[in-house]
């Protein structure tokens, strides 16, 4: 493979070999799954704490915090996922174009 | 212009004639609405709420689900043996084809809606004597709006691999105005209020129906063209 930087089709900063994300689909899926589990655990935890009677006011405060955290985490994850999917598309096409210009 | 309407009538006449001979869609939809009404009897806890009190909503949902059954098959016959290409190849304009299909669908579905109302009146003692005229008008307007949008989307789903299973996904989100205002107007009339009470709702229902018809007439061309 011989990257051809002068190709008129070259578009993105995502494509150089060095900067390639070392994440296969399994790793990415695993990361996403782990994050979802984490968020679920965090959302349920305050209720478990409250059930044990560990300072209700504090538990409520924790719960507020985790909801904010989950909302932002999901938003980041979705936007990041979209960016990665676009980068992959571009990389795939540019690799094809590089292979046989 | 006259030729256009003759084309519309020809398409509607063809569909209705086929329907009269086979009675496939009418039989399926008719059985569907009667059986749905029957199931509603067991689905609703009669000690908590009598089906009569929520009849307007039940009638509309039965009509929509039953209608979906028939609308999804609007172009079923034409899919076979390249009949659709034959229709498109005739000098008939796509707009006339669309309006003809809407006309035949509306007539069939009006029949089914009438059956639904009668079934509910018998099964659940729904009182229809208060405002029969305005009630029929509201239901007919709703049926027209539903078929106007449904025929357009049925043309789309007929061209996809998923077929009619795709139809509710496309159609239901857009039917929210129809259900909201249609059910409200029907419930108001059934409760015995005069027809002047529903003028506002009626205006929005009319707007929905006209919009759906205009969208269909304007866009159907892009669905049939190859």
């Amino acid at each position: 493979m011989n990257p051809n930087p002068s190709s008129p089709m070259r578009l993105s900063p995502f494509t150089s070999q060095r900067r390639r994300l070392p994440l296969g689909p399994w790793v990415q899926g695993g990361l996403a799954g782990a994050l979802i589990v984490l968020v679920a655990v965090l959302l349920l935890m305050p209720e478990a704490l409250a059930a044990q009677g560990a300072g209700t006011a504090q538990a409520r405060q924790m719960r507020h915090f985790w909801h904010v955290f989950a909302a932002y985490a999901i938003a980041w994850l979705l936007l990041f996922g979209w960016a990665v999917s676009i980068a992959r598309r571009i990389r795939k096409v540019e690799e094809k174009l590089d292979r046989d210009p | 212009m006259r030729r256009f309407w003759i084309g519309v009538a020809a398409i509607a006449g063809k569909d209705l004639r086929v329907e009269l001979r086979t009675r496939e869609r009418i039989a399926a939809m008719g059985a569907f609405v009667v059986l749905t009404a029957l199931l509603f009897n067991y689905a609703v806890d009669r000690t908590a709420v009598h089906p009569r009190e929520i009849a307007a909503g039940l009638i509309w949902m039965t009509m929509l689900l039953g209608g979906l059954l028939g609308l999804g098959r609007t172009f079923e016959l034409e899919k076979e043996d390249g009949a659709f290409e034959g229709l498109v190849a005739t000098p008939l304009s796509p707009e006339a084809l669309y309006l003809g299909k809407v006309l035949s669908n509306t007539l069939i579905l009006t029949l089914i809606t009438a059956l639904t109302v009668v079934v509910f009146a018998i099964f659940f003692q729904v009182d229809l004597s208060g405002n029969p005229g305005p009630l029929a008008g509201v239901l007919f307007l709703g049926v027209t709006g539903f078929t106007a949008l449904g025929t357009l989307f049925s043309g789309i789903t007929a061209g996809t691999r998923m077929g009619e299973t795709l139809l509710p996904i496309l159609l239901f989100p857009l039917l929210v105005p129809l259900v909201t205002f249609g059910v409200s107007a029907t419930a108001t009339l059934m409760a015995g209020f005069p027809a002047t009470e529903i003028l506002g709702t009626l205006r929005i229902l009319t707007a929905f129906t006209l919009l759906a018809l205009m969208a269909g007439v304007g866009l159907f061309r892009f669905i049939v063209e190859e």
């Binding site: 008129p8 089709m9 578009l11 993105s12 900063p13 405060q61 719960r63 507020h64 915090f65 909801h67 904010v68 989950a70 909302a71 932002y72 999901i74 938003a75 979705l78 936007l79 979209w82 960016a83 676009i86 980068a87 598309r89 571009i90 096409v93 540019e94 094809k96 174009l97 046989d100 | 949008l149 357009l152 989307f153 789309i156 061209g159 996809t160 691999r161 998923m162 795709l166 996904i169 496309l170 239901f172 989100p173 857009l174 929210v176 105005p177 909201t180 205002f181 409200s184 929005i204 707007a207 929905f208 919009l211 969208a215 866009l219 892009f222 669905i223 063209e225």
Partner: protein, 240 residues
């Protein structure tokens, strides 16, 4: 627009957008005052409202591009429509996850038939239908036309759906909810909100441009592969 211009614009908007995103996160977590009645959970607002704004903006782009595509039949416009729809789906999902997370604390329930939340859910389904139609036709051209029709009809219907969900709510009065978006928004909150709005709008347009460029590259590649294949088969083909 040449792809070079698209790339340049995408990178610029993206850099500005990411910078502003960092800024608004700092504002949200360290600077803006906590809302009195709802507490810290109100901070979800700063991603919730910009998400909703972009979801509807994207749908406007989808509708306009779909109409232009049906009118002119230019593939580029369709690619723009698809790029906007993909972004719209992402941002609608953000609204639909952040809304209930906020509502669970503020209203005590994950879901209420709050008109704007309901409208967003319906919009999400319209987007889903748009992609299902696109991806389930055997003929790609036809899929594009079908999707364009779905986009246009959806956009025509949005005002009516909006009226219905508003009206339905007015029939069923809900407990009065403290609204952060009332006219008496704290000036610092307003600043944070405007930063977030601008930041995400820029991020959206940057990703939109890259998605559009990716689609154009893909179709160029497809065309090349086709040309090559027919050349190999020995046909006379004009070089595109």
């Amino acid at each position: 627009m040449s792809l070079r211009t698209v790339r340049w614009a995408g990178v610029t908007l993206g850099a500005l957008g990411v910078g502003l995103t960092l800024l608004f996160h700092w504002q949200v977590f360290f600077w803006v005052p906590t809302e009195a009645s709802m507490g810290i959970v109100q901070r979800i607002f700063y991603i919730h409202l910009p998400g909703a704004w972009i979801a509807f903006l994207a749908f406007g782009i989808v509708a306009i591009c779909s109409a232009v595509y049906l009118w002119l039949g230019d593939d580029k416009v369709d690619q723009a429509a698809r790029a906007a729809a993909e972004g719209g789906l992402i941002f609608t999902t953000i609204v639909l996850t952040s809304g209930p997370l906020w509502g669970k604390i503020a209203w005590g329930t994950w879901w209420t038939w709050e008109p704007r939340l309901t409208l967003t859910l319906l919009l999400w389904f319209i987007y889903v239908g748009y992609f299902m139609v696109r991806n389930s036709t055997d003929n790609a051209e036809r899929g594009k036309r079908f999707a364009a029709v779905v986009g246009i009809v959806g956009a025509l219907n949005i005002p009516l759906i909006h009226m219905s969900v508003q009206w339905f709510r007015s029939l069923h009065p809900q407990p009065v909810v403290a609204r952060p978006d009332g006219p008496n928004l704290h000036p610092d909150m307003l600043t944070t909100l405007l930063t977030a709005l601008l930041a995400w709008t820029l991020v959206f347009f940057s990703l939109f441009l890259f998605r559009y460029a990716a689609a154009r590259l893909e179709s160029a590649e497809e065309l090349r592969a086709l040309t090559r294949a027919s050349k190999a088969a020995g046909d006379e083909v004009p070089v595109p």
